[in-house]
């Protein structure tokens, strides 16, 4: 299926505080812009896949959105894998198109935890609440502590990841946080849940993003201006709650990437730019190692080889990622991958031909991978 489907259009809302707007309204704005970017009519859309808002889960959300958009999708609904849903839904759309189930799919995500409910991000963990076990960040901190014990100090590499994202975010006029980060600022950043600092943690953001998926053949027939081919995709689900994982530092991210690389016929060395889900810095570190960019425990070697900024060893999160552009769970990374392949990023990697994008959900419970080309 390599290259058989393309991303034909992208759209997004403002990021950050977007008060007084429902997630339905945010989704519609992103979809309206994605359809306009593709240069197609609403009538061409016959599939709608949407990630349920993380901040407030609703039943039949896909149908509520379709009603508000007066769509009667041949194919659609909600796919719930947390933040991994976005890329998984793009993959499902591509497969559905290939199987003749639909022709033009909208994949959309909206969330408003900043001005709406943050309940999902700060929840207490069931029977373990009386130990004080609460929040998403603590789960990642539990993994980060074990990683540092098993593979050595992670401060340098986590700081480099955060500094790169914040530098790229500062260059992106749409970013929520445009304040560049220095190493001193990082080292002085307060603990949230030790060993994670405030500057290791993503933003809390309102906003929406959407993409239009169609076949490459249809994009040619419709004269789509800047179609970006989908070269590969994959997913993997670790599933176990953090306390139950036999090995806290191993997830299914590697399997997800293996599937995507095999489909694309590519290897890590072929990747020019990466958009890696950075809900927390430790997630980026573990994702890149699981993807095979370096052996486990060796990502720190990239720092000496130029690191993660444009011009470095592996430029990543070139629109600022979740740490700087918007904390929205994931689809914005696909939009930035599309911009890199079109050559229109505000932190463009010169001559970039292949971009890898990761999405993940829960506390490394789910993972999905997308490889885009030209």
């Amino acid at each position: 299926m390599r290259g058989k489907a393309v991303i034909a259009g992208i759209g997004q809302t403002a990021f950050g505080k977007v008060p007084g707007r429902s997630t339905i309204s945010l989704n519609i704005e992103a979809c309206r812009k994605a359809v306009a970017d593709a240069g197609i009519e609403k009538g061409a859309v016959d599939a709608l896949l949407v990630k349920v808002p993380t901040s407030r889960v609703e039943m039949m959300y896909g149908q509520t959105l379709a009603e508000a958009m007066q769509l009667r999708p041949r194919f659609g609904g909600v796919f719930d894998q947390g933040g991994a849903s976005n890329i998984s839904m793009i993959a499902i759309a591509a497969m559905a198109i290939e199987a003749g189930q639909c022709e033009v799919a909208l994949v959309s995500l909206a969330d408003n935890p900043r001005t709406g409910s943050r309940h999902a991000y700060e929840k207490v963990w069931g029977d373990d609440a009386d130990f004080g076990w609460s929040s998403v960040v603590a789960g990642y901190a539990m993994i980060a502590r074990r990683y540092a014990h098993d593979y050595g100090n992670i401060d340098d590499v986590n700081a480099a990841i955060a500094i790169a994202a914040r530098k790229h975010g500062a260059a992106n006029p749409n970013a929520q946080l445009k304040l560049p980060l220095t190493r001193d600022m990082y080292d002085q950043s307060p603990w949230v849940v030790e060993p994670l600092r405030r500057d290791d943690c993503c933003l809390v953001s309102d906003g929406a993003a959407a993409v239009v998926v169609m076949s490459a053949e249809r994009a040619r027939k419709l004269g789509i201006k800047a179609p970006v081919p989908i070269l590969g995709f994959g997913q993997g689900n670790t599933s176990d709650a953090v306390p139950l994982r036999e090995d806290l530092t191993t997830t299914m991210a590697g399997g997800s990437a293996k599937t995507a690389f095999a489909m694309a016929g590519l290897k890590p060395k072929d990747i020019d730019v990466a958009q890696i889900y950075d809900c927390f810095t430790i997630t980026v570190l573990m994702t890149l190692e699981a993807y095979g960019f370096t052996p486990k425990g060796r990502l720190r070697d990239f720092i000496e080889e130029g690191g993660f900024e444009v011009g470095g060893k592996l430029p990543l999160n070139t629109s600022g990622g979740l740490l700087s552009e918007t904390g929205m769970p994931g689809l914005q990374l696909v939009l930035e991958g599309v911009r890199q392949m079109r050559g229109t990023s505000t932190s463009q990697v010169p001559g970039a031909r292949n971009c890898i994008v990761s999405n993940q959900g829960g506390i490394m419970h789910t993972h999905s991978t997308l490889i885009l080309g030209q």
């Binding site: 029977d127 130990f131 004080g132 609460s134 502590r145 014990h149 849940v193 806290l248």
Partner: protein, 134 residues
């Protein structure tokens, strides 16, 4: 027709909690495949059998990882900051979330042996683990 009223059957989670309230830490073991697990479930997660028994933990465990909260996401803990939460593996295999007793700042305790010690908190005995043995 007469209506029979059955006593509500307790769930495995309720049975596990009742034992804790009695200051006993229990876990489940499958009679088909010998797998031992927590948290309490209705089926063995390894072979899906519903034929299992309760066993009482020896209280010996090892630290898998731990974190220190500097934020009270749960407002009940606002006065407890900073406080630790740990994952430990019982000698019998199951893993659980707990708090460590006598954790010193700056010390790496991963892999250290710990011992079960119940402490009263929130009007219940909480199964915590003590770092430097009894």
């Amino acid at each position: 027709m007469s209506k029979t009223v059955e006593a509500p059957a307790s769930t495995p989670a309720e049975t596990h909690r009742a034992a804790l309230d009695d200051r006993r830490l229990t876990y489940q073991r499958c009679r088909s495949c010998e797998q031992a697990w927590l948290p309490a479930r209705e089926e063995c997660p390894k072979c899906w059998s519903s034929d299992w028994v309760w066993e009482e933990a020896s209280g010996k465990a090892e630290v898998v990882s731990w974190v220190v909260y500097h934020t009270a996401f749960d407002k009940r803990f606002a006065g407890h900051l900073p406080y630790n939460v740990a994952v430990v593996q019982l000698a019998e295999g199951p893993r659980m979330v707990t708090n460590l007793i006598d954790l010193s700042e700056g010390e790496d305790v991963i892999g250290q042996a710990v011992t079960l010690a119940f402490e009263e908190e929130f009007d219940r005995p909480l199964p915590r683990f003590k770092l430097r043995g009894p």
